[in-house]
Subunit: 581 residues, 2 copies
Amino acid sequence: MYIEKINSPTDLKTLTTDEMKVLASEIRDGLMNRLSKKGGHFGPNFGFVEATIAMHYVFNSPRDKFVFDVSHQSYTHKMLTGRKDAYLYDEHFSDISGYTNPEESEHDFFNVGHTSTSVSLACGLAKGRDLVGGKENIVAVIGDGSLSGGEALEGIDFASELESNFIIVVNDNDMSIAENHGGLYKNLKALRESDGICECNLFKAMGLDYMYVAEGNNIEKLIEAFAKVKDTDHPTVVHICTQKGKGYEPAETNKENWHWCMPFDTETGKSKFTGGGEDYGTMTCDYLLDKMKKDERVVALVAAVPVCIGFTEDKRKQAGKQFVDVGICEEHAVAMASGIAKNGGKPVFATHSSFFQRTYDQISQDLCVNGNSATLLVNTGSVYGMNDVTHLGIYDIPMMSNIPNLVYLAPTSCEEYFAMLDWSIEQDKYPVAVRIPCNGVIHTDKEIDTDYSNLNKYKVTQNGKNIAVIALGDFYQIGGAVAKMIEEKTGAAPTLINPRYITGLDEELLESLKKNHTKVITLEDGILDGGFGEKIARFYGPTDVKVYNYGLKKEFIDRYDVNEVLIRNRITPELICEDVL
Amino acid sequence: MYIEKINSPTDLKTLTTDEMKVLASEIRDGLMNRLSKKGGHFGPNFGFVEATIAMHYVFNSPRDKFVFDVSHQSYTHKMLTGRKDAYLYDEHFSDISGYTNPEESEHDFFNVGHTSTSVSLACGLAKGRDLVGGKENIVAVIGDGSLSGGEALEGIDFASELESNFIIVVNDNDMSIAENHGGLYKNLKALRESDGICECNLFKAMGLDYMYVAEGNNIEKLIEAFAKVKDTDHPTVVHICTQKGKGYEPAETNKENWHWCMPFDTETGKSKFTGGGEDYGTMTCDYLLDKMKKDERVVALVAAVPVCIGFTEDKRKQAGKQFVDVGICEEHAVAMASGIAKNGGKPVFATHSSFFQRTYDQISQDLCVNGNSATLLVNTGSVYGMNDVTHLGIYDIPMMSNIPNLVYLAPTSCEEYFAMLDWSIEQDKYPVAVRIPCNGVIHTDKEIDTDYSNLNKYKVTQNGKNIAVIALGDFYQIGGAVAKMIEEKTGAAPTLINPRYITGLDEELLESLKKNHTKVITLEDGILDGGFGEKIARFYGPTDVKVYNYGLKKEFIDRYDVNEVLIRNRITPELICEDVL
């Protein structure tokens, strides 16, 4: 096997192109080994094997520097830069992350996981090089799906100002996670259909030189193209057409489902994930479809992650014009939602907590300054969400809850979640965000309020004394367990409160607690800094009431174990009782 | 005068084009009256008089809906929609804001002040219209300078997905605030030079229909163009070429200086602002120029607001390749700064507090996850900064200080500011942000630390007892006055602390204060929610120390008086002593 002997890109450079073709096949076997057992990004990696081989053959990494967008296509790069064992041998699976990572290798320059960043980051490397008089090649890789993101378009527009070597490899597989959306994809199509020669050319219109490679899975053609742009003295786009999922029939056929995979049977392609049971994605989608049928003004928006609220292809069709995938452009999505609400629609925009970070200013300016009644659904906003350092859902409370005018709600059960969502869609006074629960679908048979327009009224779910436990959202259940343990240990039942509103204090209730409570415990599923509990601490600051805030430390954590993180932050009933009693 | 008789756009529709030309002249007189006495956006408004007249002549506002980008060119629109008195008569100047404002008029749909938002907001209006079966025209106006912003490019890319009426008026005056930067401007130039017919066309590459109007200050031509696109059933760009500052010679000649003006003498064009004295813009620029001479790795970046750190045209030339104006694209700027730092450069990116909102995710992901040592200079982050609701500088502490890995510093004097900036540029361990003081250039003769690498060590500037005053950044001087008054009133000097670090607690110091302090007062120049003081309240939450947090209420405020805001938030020595003693 060739792959066994490749410990750095240098080892690749002695191979003939025929040998490299065999290598490509071996790499796909390695990818298959890891992905079928551990899951990960499938289609992007299977499609980019040949291009990565050609890049490492032509350029000299790490002197020449590659920046991968999202870096969900960087597995072959990892295999060629000393990390093949993490694909070939099960016991080394956990040696690496799913994205580029400078701590793993000198061939990686950035921890990347969000889309549309590679061109700008690479522009920085190029400018840094030019300042210190370096001569290396700087290569940014970006997929067609990522092109619609504002940061990518800003970067591509700026790139032509660099008067020095800069190469943008546009990896065009004619797919985002789902299908692409946006006018520029018509231009990519025209370029593909004209073999790259049609006059109207997005990249040229952005001031860049341009080269087209129809066969983006052909090593010889790619080597030829990359050799032409190597060491050139100005910015150039190399537009290559690859096949997403190439080499595995199920992935070639159903590109959307195979963008990312759970562990699967390699023979049948069937997922080994049997999870089943209820999930908030499907339930949210079904709720919205029903709502849409009853009200033509309701419209769901997503930014290229339709399945985060259950909108599979068939359900997108059912929704028709009441479903909009804007593509990868969260900024546009939030501003558009504000506009829809302003003109009589009832928009619901959903994405992951980590991706809401890409639209802070639009939430503040386009939406909240204007007070339009759009609904934002925050998915995987939780320590129980995604655990890659680039996809953490533990920062949205400080990020969003301190924006004026926003009503940010944290449901504690399935029934409360849908009641809040329904209220939000029906009301026309406030921009509202709802944090979709992430700790499993927990049902309640208690009566749930349907009207949340009396803002910042917390719900006392257990009247008690001495100690009050204010437990927000996903941590409400932990709060319940804390309350129970306090009662067991002290003989007195504490007060238990579901605050529901992240964005405001129930000052009347907090004031009333002073009468027969000396201690208040807060719990929140996110970092403490800038979060919910600190506001309670501020309220009681000048009083005799003692406040104990529980939540996560402000830090970037990576591939963590939830229980370990909770224990480290002393978020268990036992540890909390130890601190407080 | 025609303008006297125009109370709504209906009154305009009876005029002949010759009469409208006279009206245009009257409007410029009105603009001149207001701008020369009160200041405001000059160039954008003088250039867009004819286009606004033509828009209101052809379309039927408010049924047809106009969305202005930044809305700094909306003065003529205001004059034609019932608000002329605010331009013609000095006593009505304060009737209106400097931007579109739905509270002022049914002809305004959004409070807008940030760039690059109009297309996305208008896409929302169009989608809302389509959901409810409306038939009105939706018109987005956007300047060429704003096109480089990610949100604008996302919106333009998405627009072609609308299969219904949608009109984007690109107001091309070949200028941003300063000159434009980015490859797309080469395409605008090619379009202008080919009378709009060159094949390579950014807007067509984004999937849009396209029309070109060379004479963007010619009412007949504009009416003809707008009439053609009115009631069409698909998205279209109308690219019009206007002259920035048209009708006033000094503004036509020096477009950058006349983008925005202070009150001036209409005869000479000379500013009546005599302010003088030291300013942080000039001082920062001179410091950086000196630094650049000594170190070729130092590079200053701005996003279209070079003068916010004093980089006037001559100084930009002096800096040469060590100064980069990326154009309006803050996302790109931060990611690029991260890349520059990664590859050996020493980048300093400066913009206004309010504009840092446009790059939250890049600060978090591209910069802080990667821990690269770029410097961010936060300008006008203060209650003393800009006071339009769309440009407030009171939210950056909660927004930025809760991002892990960032070191956010708040200097309390001129000397401390430059010491912090210099340390930040020279160190290579942390992403650092420095909040440029905004309460005047205050000097100190006390010795200033030059090394800030021992993170989160607060500076005790006065040792005392009973009460500790922790006064952050611009509010340090108020803290000093509070301390003095406490001593006067109680006979005991309190401890006074300059915390310097916004992003972390000096736990050792805070712990030590417990010994002989019962009360801690915090002061910060920003909203309290998610801010600095709440972290102190959290620290002391479980203890007997009482904490009093002073800062601003979380709300959007508009055109406020600083002293009124401070008093309303009880931020004066008298009121604080009243609360605490």
